[in-house]
Symmetry: C2
Subunit: 398 residues, 2 copies
Amino acid sequence: MPGISKKGQNMPASPIRKLVPFADAAKKRGVKVYHLNIGQPDIPTPDVAMEAIRNFRQTVVEYSHSAGILSYRQKLTQYYAKNNIKITADDIIVTAGGSEAILIAVSTIMDPDDEMIVPEPFYANYNGFSVNAGVKVVPIPSSIENGFGLPPIEDFEKVITSRTKAILVCNPNNPTGYLYSKEEIERLGRLAKKHDLYLLADEVYREFVYDGEQHFSVMHLDGLDDNCILVDSVSKRYSACGFRIGAMISKNKEVMSAAMKFAQARLSPPTFGQVASEAAIDTPESYFREVKAEYVARRDVVVQAMNKMDGVFCPNPRGAFYVVARLPITDSDHFCQWLLEDFNLNGETVMLAPATGFYSTPGMGKDEVRISYVLNVSDLKRSMEILDAAIKVYPGRK
Amino acid sequence: MPGISKKGQNMPASPIRKLVPFADAAKKRGVKVYHLNIGQPDIPTPDVAMEAIRNFRQTVVEYSHSAGILSYRQKLTQYYAKNNIKITADDIIVTAGGSEAILIAVSTIMDPDDEMIVPEPFYANYNGFSVNAGVKVVPIPSSIENGFGLPPIEDFEKVITSRTKAILVCNPNNPTGYLYSKEEIERLGRLAKKHDLYLLADEVYREFVYDGEQHFSVMHLDGLDDNCILVDSVSKRYSACGFRIGAMISKNKEVMSAAMKFAQARLSPPTFGQVASEAAIDTPESYFREVKAEYVARRDVVVQAMNKMDGVFCPNPRGAFYVVARLPITDSDHFCQWLLEDFNLNGETVMLAPATGFYSTPGMGKDEVRISYVLNVSDLKRSMEILDAAIKVYPGRK
């Protein structure tokens, strides 16, 4: 029988999905599972987007332009202008989600064995994209002690080689929720400039910024037009993960021209998702105010409850809808599986993501878990009670 | 300034798109351009699919399963059963168009520098996918003399090396319209079995088979379950290119399990497109009867008109909606550009695809063009008059 490629063998399984069979088994036993493990928001998709879909009247659903429908790209420039990001429709390639944007960006700027520096913990699928493109992710550990702030620039400089092509940063961060400051992004900008590197920024949680903070984009950096590549998505912004609409954005003409060849090879991004996303740009500000208020309330429930638990440390992140917390455990994979297999509190348990899946340095994240606060406040409160009870009786407790 | 990857530099520009600026310039001069260069059907998307979109009522447009919505995959098994292809929902990964299916399939079975044999002329984007995945397309020329039938098996065997992993065949064929016979597919099957190769089949034009012929799928082959991988798409079937819904299908569990890791890394295929595609499975047979009758009428107009032109030879293909014809010219790139830049018949011209873009052997296709018969009969008749007049006065005529 013909075999599988090395690439196929090395593709990482999702750290979230490997626990799914245990969650399914728990449900079969009648245990209720609170899902704190996923990045799928429960917030309704804006009406204005759904109306556009219901009113779709084209007779032939044609390929769109490979860079995306022009009217959508033009309207996107207004969305970005509101965020003080000044671009034209030509600086945008609409993609099948942020995932495709990262894959095209990485393939455009990196060859097999080239290196990309990423602060860890990081979004687990970056591993998948890098294996897929044959490139190497070089992790720089950030620390839970300062809430996963930007690691010292010296740490980046230590690992820069002739093969280093890019620094990738997710801001606000998945999995930590950390919001990088203007000053931190500027520091990264100077580093990219000094070493002639691309600065790739995944800013799909741009709207999810709390406590009066402002999001500072790599696109706000002066004099770095040729270095910066923005990866974006409507998935979280409009609670529209199923649209599969993202974007790769850069003012570097050479990069965009090469990226267009990858975009043309896959013909076009999804038409329905683009139509809905174009309409979604008119989502009223009140929608975002409500969503943000909701997430702040949820975050506060989780962070406050976690820090009251014995032996638990949970930073108070100012973005996205995740926290990474340190628990008094030594094997987060075992703990998360145990929660599903061996524990319940009155017939209920929680599903968490072991943080090991978000590190590429072996051994890291073993005492950390990621919690997504994508459930309502009442379910989150109950989830925290369950987690508290679980930690108290977990046999692998430190 | 940081540069572009070698891969990015080597990605081929689409052979169709490089003429677009000349077509745009012609239109600016007031010349009407008949587009015989594209694979975008003008047939309406079935009502039943459009109704499903207009009735979409989910509140949150969530990620679907990475392999695709289960109800869609289950219904797809009924569609395939009707085509005598017996698979289960687990044998299917729904993809963002046939394009993603090919990329995932190639990445699953081939590492950089591995080889895939493809009869040429072939769908130009296979070059893009192979550069993207770092793999090598090894072309085997087919001949216009026998209508681009399967080249002799000896020609395949001559180029098989230890790096050969797969044979890729498009049936019915884009760009030639050739429909491979049962006997030819069986021959390929024996070859794949003998040399332990994957047989990758792009069958996105399955419905477009004329003159009472039957489509014979690689999935109909006996004893080749582990070798065969089917690449499919709803784009042409339902004139729904913008849905961006395809599928990778195989009964080889190891292949599907590795492919799922690539599918998980990009999270999920588009939700709206899946909902529309699921509904589209109920498209009445009358739709396909009408579409086929229309394409046969169009093909007949083109083939008959072409063969009446002096020095032109056009096979009479039995599938898809393309023909590759030989013209009395020596540089089809120049001819197609000349049609747009320097020629018009009473203010009208035609846009064709030079066949050079469908060959990877240098020098081939220079006296051939691909014509897509995606215009109505009346426009096609006029297009043929224009082409006839153009060939008569073309200065580069052989």
